[in-house]
Symmetry: C2
Subunit: 415 residues, 2 copies
């Protein structure tokens, strides 16, 4: 697969070349929330493109909305058609005169949430993360017996999902130190990030009608970066027996651009090979196709900038490929009891950690719950996040002979 050329300056070789064309929602100078696609340093205003009659009728209608839900509901065929049309418009010299006026500078654009997120579900798909965390809380029994059978997940809070750049307030909550007799209420002292990937549901399913594994990816619209901010002290005291609640639902940050599955095709990978002795997944979660190409080779990085630093520093680097469960397995499992997913629903992988020490996706793991503080250049150390710390998630795909596909950034400052 060769690299395509766009007439948009700065597109080739950037996070957002012609092969990417991620979708998002931005606020236009006239105040309207508009759907757009990132190309180089610009945004192609798709509402304006629709108004200029550059899009086929149904696509134009969906692109005039203020969120991506309508386009998502149309299914993979529609996002494929929109992608092809945008590639035509942004590469053909013939269209340039009509399309160039529809470009907006990314630098000044305010990005909004890309969709109205009805339901948000967070999984726990990294066996490295589950083992690291399990070891801290249950040293004798780090990985629970269900882990290798069930893609463990739980419902998160959709209302507190914010877009990259929004400040994150340190939450207060009940915590109880191990040696304290009673809990107390106050600001969390163990605020953490979690490096995750979110994936948006395109076409949904009806209540009572599970989505089989072979069809699961047809219901995935695209991917984004996701920071599942976590107050570890609140979480530790509250999470039994019904799971995380206030330790998580004060804020979740996502990157503004949804990278479509079409853009990720060249970066498919084999799913994580299960170690000898691990069980084979049950039949509803197992297929040769999914094993062969259900993974995605996306490099994921966490960068941190404290209030004292001029530039952020990278604190970890992992890969989406390292998950124990594929996106398709998670989605199929979610609907296996008949639960209905709707266009715009967000699923997330859970913290993406790898096998290596520098590939873990949370401070909890990196510092072993604060026992081994992270050393930063300049002499600062971190057990958990401090006020003024900015966490920046980055993601990208790179492969010889292919255009780089970037996810952009997912940023948040603790205030």
């Amino acid at each position: 697969m060769g690299v395509m050329r766009s007439w948009v300056a700065g597109a080739d070789g950037s996070d957002f070349p012609l092969e990417n064309l991620p979708l998002g929602v931005f606020r236009r100078a006239d105040g309207k929330a508009c759907i757009g696609s990132a190309i180089g340093d610009s945004i192609l205003d798709l509402r304006a493109a629709a108004d200029a009659r550059l899009l086929q009728k149904e696509l134009a209608a969906a692109c005039r909305e203020d969120a991506l839900n309508a386009l998502m509901a149309m299914g993979r065929g529609a996002s494929q058609a929109l992608r092809e049309r945008m590639q035509e418009l942004l590469s053909g010299a013939g269209a340039r005169a009509r399309v160039e006026p529809l470009l907006v500078s990314r630098a000044g654009a305010e990005m909004l949430l890309p969709a109205r997120i009805g339901g948000y579900t967070d999984f726990y798909a990294s066996v490295y993360h589950a083992t690291n965390v399990g070891r801290l809380f249950r040293p004798e029994n780090p990985l629970l017996p269900n882990y290798k059978w069930v893609p463990i997940g739980y419902h998160g809070r959709a209302s507190s999902i914010v877009v990259s750049g929004a400040e994150v307030r340190r939450p207060s909550g009940q915590t109880k130190a191990a040696d304290a007799k009673e809990p107390s209420f106050g600001p969390s002292k163990a605020l953490d990030y979690e490096l995750e990937v979110g994936f948006f549901v395109g076409q949904g399913n009806r209540l009572g009608e599970p989505i089989p594994l072979a069809e699961a990816e047809r219901h995935v619209f695209g991917l984004c970066l996701l920071n599942d901010w976590s107050a570890r002290d609140v979480q530790a005291w509250e999470y039994q027996p019904l799971g995380p609640f206030l330790g998580k639902n004060f804020a979740t940050t996502i990157s503004p651009w949804i990278v479509t599955l079409e853009a990720l095709e060249p970066f498919r990978a084999t799913a994580l090979k299960r170690p000898e002795g691990d069980p084979k997944p049950l039949k509803y979660l197992d297929s040769a196709d999914d094993r062969a190409s259900g993974g995605f080779d996306v490099t994921l990085e966490v960068w941190l900038r404290t209030a004292q630093m001029r530039e952020p520093v990278r604190v970890s680097r992992g890969n989406l490929r390292d998950l124990y469960w594929t996106l398709a397995q998670m989605l199929t499992h979610h609907t296996s009891n008949g639960c209905n997913l709707q266009p715009g629903d967000l699923l997330a992988t859970g913290t993406v950690s790898g096998a290596l020490a520098d590939s873990v996706g949370s401070l909890l793991e990196m510092t072993r719950r604060g026992a081994e503080p992270l050393m930063l250049p300049g002499g600062e150390t971190r057990k958990f996040l401090e006020t003024g710390d900015e966490v920046i998630l980055r993601g990208y795909c790179e492969r010889e002979g292919c255009a780089r596909i970037g996810f952009g950034e997912c940023r948040g400052v603790v205030v």
Copy 2:
């Protein structure tokens, strides 16, 4: 407080007298989803009332919507004003000629979900339920150390909430018998109901701005009955460490009529008295007012009709008053970390069980996980629900000198 008279036949003494006026959404003969209020055997069509200029302007606009969210967002003042106006219209002889044509028969009306439910959160507020369930799963340690400090809750799934009358399909899922070597996938063999009360959020709060206890009830719009259908075998295998997921999210049924807090005022009760030795709640969850009148005296019943029965039989009776945490405490706790609630969000109490054997709100508790089957008239027995079983929840308030306030029914048949 005396009993008010309505000119609507059958209103006085019914579940839905002039003192109740619960709000819901029904499908009108012309196919439109309309907001209405139940009065006796009728529904007052509030869209029609708005169109007939019988409502003040802002109320009229909210009542022309196809869901209650806009009215909810206006806050308690608006629901109070609407209530007073409806009482005028439905009691004054002068208005009768104009209002009578706006009544629709309840018998033939299709009820819809009353609101677009953005977020659904389920609590665990009955200490009897928590203890009963804990004893089955952790005999040595039934009640976890956090229970008496934290109003435990978790996020549920909003998309699979259905309205009374909808069939409930038995879900499939992964289960593992205690003596089995491996789990398997198939229809749940331990389908259960949970008797709960749901409460809808009226005015919301902004992200980062907790709602103090003294203001919590101003954010509650009203209450309904809720059946949190549960597949116990799926739940038991999946729920650690992140809580219930597929064991719950295949269906949740709610009653169609939201009984407002205004209607429940005469049935306020003292909160459950904490036994000697229990901790005092932390300050953010404690107030003299809430202790004195944060409870509600609502009788709650579970009725069961198997496929062989002509009439349902009552299998339990409890009371909402018996919760360990008040509605206000749950709502305040939910926002205590800054989590934002939105108009139309649904919170639920968790299973309402009382101290007595016949006041437990689930089969899990009643049959001790199937060990002591429930004997039904006619000789049938039940460990868990069987296909064709219909579960009917009922709720009502009764007090000498007050009109009865009914919740109507929350029904569902297992198919």
